[in-house]
Structure formats: C-alpha cells, structure tokens
Amino acid sequence: MSGDVDASTWVATRRKPSALERLFDNKAFLIFICLLPAMGLLLVFLTYPLGLGIWMSFTDTKLGKPGIWVGLENFQYLMEDRVFLNAVWWTIFYTAAATALKFALGLWLALLLNQNVPLKSLLRAIILLPWITPTVLSAIAFWWIYDPQFSIISYVLKDRLHLIDSNIDFLGTPWNARWSLIFANVWRGIPFVAISLLAGLQTISPSLYEAAMLDGASSWQRFRRVTVPLLMPILAVVLTFSVLFTFADFQLVYAITRGGPINSTHLMATLAFQRGIPGGSLGEGAAIAVSMIPFLIIATLFSYFAIGQRKWQQGGDE
C-alpha cells in the first residue's frame, strides 16, 4: 500500500515447510500414501482370496480343517455330478432368458420415457424403486406373491377372471419355479436397463432424426438405422454388467426357492454356498465358484471388444 517497501528490503515472510510437509510434497511418496488404503483393502480382501479360492479348489479343505492338495479331483467329481451339471445349464439359461427379457422390455420402457411424457423425472424416480430396494426383501415379497395357496396372481386368474380352475403352483414344479425366478429377476433388472438406456437415448442428436425423416425413413427405419447403432456403445456396457451380475446371482434364488424343488433351480453360486458353508466342503464349494470364472472372463472380453468397436466407430480419438 504505502511505497516504503522496495525490492531490496522485502523479506519473504513465508515460513519454511517442515520436514513432514516436504515429505508430503514428494510426488512418489504422495502417490504411495494415496494408493495405500484402496490397494491394501483390495489386495487383502479381493486379490488374495481370489488366489486362495483357486488354490482351495484343488484341495479337500473342510470347515475347520486345512486341506491337502488333491489335484483335479474336485472337478472330476463335479463333472459326474448331475446336480452340478444341471446348475451350470440352468445358470446359463437363467442368464440368457433374463437378460434378453430385461433388455427387450428395458429398451421399450426407455423409448416410452423418451417420448416427452409429463412428470418425467418423477416417473424416472419411481421406476428405479425396484432396483434400489434390497433384493432379498423384494424377493420375500415375490415369495408371498408366489405362495401356492394364497397367491394373488392365482386369485385374480381363478376367482376374478375365471381363466384357470386351480391355483398355480408357482414354486412347486421345476419349470414353474424357473420362470417365476426369471420373472422376479427381470422385474428387478428392468429399471437399471431402462434408465441407463434412457440416458443414452438423450445423447442422440434430434437433427439425425430430422434428417432421416426428410429422407422419408419410417419410424421403424429410424429406430433400426439411427437409434440402435448410436445406442450400441452404452448397450454393450450395460449388457456386460447385466450378464455378469445375473450370472453370479445368488440372493433371488436363495431367498425364493433355495435351489428347490429337488435342486432344479440351483445356480452355480447357490450350489457353491450350499456345499461350501452349511455343507462344510469348502474345497468343493470353491471348485464350483472357480468354474464360474471362465464364463465371467468371456463376458468381460465381450465388453472389452464391444468398447473397442465403439472407438472404431467414432474414429478412435483415444
């Protein structure tokens, strides 16, 4: 302010940083410190157990008894185990059927929501409800809806609409139980797919549709030639996550059927739990869990190449 401090008399008033502060300004040290908590947690509770699980699958570890190396014995046993083979088949079928339905219906719902409907943000919030409620708790609601005697669906179809003569035994026969589980999974999965795809739809420029309309494209052609290709990248990512988590699903099946009737709805994850924790054969359970890994890798690679394709489509700026 006043001009009595000139350059020759001015003294730096900034205090010298302490040794600790200088240590924290050292970039290498800072990087190490910043990554330590996340990396530590992931290494101890994710990477190490993953390796341990693969090792356990080659041993005969039991609950409370360290195992010894038995080579491929667990897998050989599983290969001849009808329950396991059935679980593999059913896991693939469950994933395929549920994903196909989730995406067909989710895309439809996203397209509906994209049509300038009133109260859009409120609708979007309501639609996400099935996805945010704890899976097990909504599964219990489905369990009650599927009750053999007091099912509300049977009641409506039988006593109100007179379409059927007797109650539907939703969880009593293998195929009924399977479709009931798929329905519950689709119910829970639609919101996520719909909201993600809606976000993708909103990034598509309206001028593309106008151009297509000027060229005389029908609404189906606009959907097929404009919407679908531009939605592909986000579709691929959502699809991978959906496949991955449906394949590794545990909660729904455990809560609604626990693998029954007669083991017909055991997913690989529920079977691994059944054999590993209450059954006590940790080695065998780990072998079942490990057999899921190849399928998961295929799904991940699929996502990798789908994203690669996106870069190629957009001219690959990264």
Binding site: L42, P49, W108, V136, T203, P206, F273, I277, L296
Partner: protein, 303 residues
C-alpha cells in the same frame, strides 16, 4: 459425465417428439394414448405392484390375510399395526436395524476415504502406470462376491473376525472401493486442472490442494459415491449370510430370511412388515438424493 450432471436442464431431444411428429401429422392423440401411455401404465403397474402388496399385507390382520372369500384382498377393512408391533417388540428387529446401519456407515466411510485418495492419485497425480492401476481397479469391480465368499470366509476366520460386524465393514469395501473410485475419477476429470496449478503457484502443498480445492468442488461426486456405497452395503447379502452366525449380529436382509422364517407356517404379515421397514431407510435416503443417484448411475455407465 458432464452431460449426466445437468439432467435437470431440458435436453434438446425433449423437443423431438413434440415438433417433428406434429409437423408430419403422424401422432394423433388417440394413437399416442395407445402407443405411449397405455404401455407405460402397464409397466408402472407391474413394477409397483409388489410394493403395494407388501405394504397392504403388513397392515392386514391375520384373519383377513388368509381369507380371500369374504374380503377383497386388494384392500384392508380393518388395518392393524399388530404385525409391526410384533416385529419391533417380540423379535430383535431393532438390533438388526442398528447393526445394518452401523455396518453400512462404517463400510461407506472406509470406502469413501480410500476411494477419494486413490481417485486423486490416479486422475491428478498422473504417474507412469496410473492407467494400469485404474484398469486394475475396474477389473476388481468385475469380480462378483459370489465367487469370493468361500475363500473370504477362511480369511475372515484367520483374522479372528468371524461372526463380528467388523468382518462386514472390512469386506464390503472390496466391491465399494472400485465403484466409488471410478465414479470419483470421472468427477475429478471434470474439475479444471488450472485451478490446481494456480494453487501450486501460490505455494499450496498437494494435500492443501486436495483439501481446499479439489474436494469442495467434488462434493456432488462424493455425495453420489456415498449414496451408492450406503445402498449397496445395506443391500449386501451373501457376505452377511456367510460370515455372521449369531442371531443378534445379523443384518436386516439376512435376519428376515433366516430368523423370521421358522417352521412351516409363515407369518406373512410380520415378514412383509419386516421387508417394508428394511427397505424404508434406503428408500428415504434415495428420495432425498434421487437426482444425484440417477446422474451418477447413468454417468458411471457412460464412462
């Protein structure tokens, strides 16, 4: 990420269906009714019916609950709080709620702390190999808990944490940290680097920059990551089922399924009341932050 944040702003695509079709005389009111509102109403009906059914069941007296002949099952003639009273005073439900709340908060705080530091290091301290660390964290998210719980059970046992809530507080971050880190990397990316450079020139240390500049600007990201972490830990099931055995230490989802379901006669009223009360905290939490939730959900997918 940036276009996901301002979801409240009218999107150009909102006008498509309004202008185009009217000009083309394509979309009459009746047609719009059948192609848009009717399917939408069906979707809403199916998506919301289980909640309606859950609610109505939890307030029904037992007599009405199992008698469809003399009562309309879609309505309650004499609502009762009996099921909820039974749940709160005759079971350890309050204990389970407190445990779940504690575990979720603990896991969320640990995850947020480590994710913020990791995301800052990966996105802002840019070092050789930071891309690989980021990829590694992304891959960690793709490992589902259902292939980890058996070996994790033995790890937890060896650490002496079996049947302790700490087992859950420490294992939940395995799926929370990767998710939150990716979310926060996206947020940090949207903060101009120049701000940090200015602070560096003014003589701020790296930690001061993180605390005074980057974190305050990333608050929306922190809130989204926190909500996600909290809901995901509240919903977690398989670890809680495998690592906790004593009744009073269970979390709500596990306890309802293993403690309330006993014998062959199910107490549907109490079960539904338990499910409803267990979903309520998440739903309330969610309704406060719905915009953050939707934007981060869609943003995370777009990344």
């Amino acid at each position: 990420m940036s276009n996901a944040v301002n979801t409240g702003v009218p999107n150009p695509s909102d006008y498509t269906e309004d202008d185009g079709p009217q000009v083309m005389a394509w979309d009459s009111g009746a047609r719009r009714m059948i192609t848009v509102y009717l399917p939408l109403a069906c979707f809403l009906l199916i998506l919301l019916f289980p909640f309606y059914w859950m609610t109505i069941t939890s307030f029904k007296p037992n007599g009405e609950l199992l008698d469809y002949k003399n009562n309309n099952p879609f309505w309650i003639t004499s609502p009762t709080l009996d099921n909820i009273r039974k749940l709160l005073f005759e079971t350890s439900y309050p204990r389970w709620l407190v445990t779940t709340m504690g575990v979720s908060f603990g896991a969320t705080i640990i995850s947020l702390f480590s994710s913020v530091l990791a995301a800052y290091a990966i996105q802002r301290l840019r070092f050789r190999g930071s891309k690989w660390v980021g990829l590694g964290i992304y891959l960690a998210y793709l490992v589902p808990p259902s292939i980890l719980f058996i070996p994790l059970a033995s790890v937890v046992f060896n650490f002496g944490l079996f049947d302790s809530p700490w087992a859950l507080v420490l294992t939940y971050p395995t799926f929370l940290v990767p998710f939150c880190t990716w979310l926060l990397i996206g947020y940090f990316k949207s903060i101009p680097y120049e701000l940090e450079e200015c602070a560096l020139i003014d003589g701020a240390s790296r930690l001061q920059i993180l605390r005074r500049i980057t974190l305050p600007l990333a608050v929306p990201g922190l809130i989204s990551a926190g909500i996600f972490a909290f809901t995901l830990s509240w919903n977690e099931f398989i670890y809680a089922l495998a690592f906790i055995s004593s009744s009073e230490k269970k979390t709500v989802p596990v306890a309802i399924l293993t403690e309330l379901v006993q014998g062959d006669v199910y107490q549907w009223g109490s079960l539904m009341a338990g499910a409803l009360l267990g979903s309520l905290p998440v739903a309330v939490f969610y309704s406060f932050f719905v915009e953050y939730y939707v934007s981060s959900l869609t943003g995370a997918v777009k990344e």
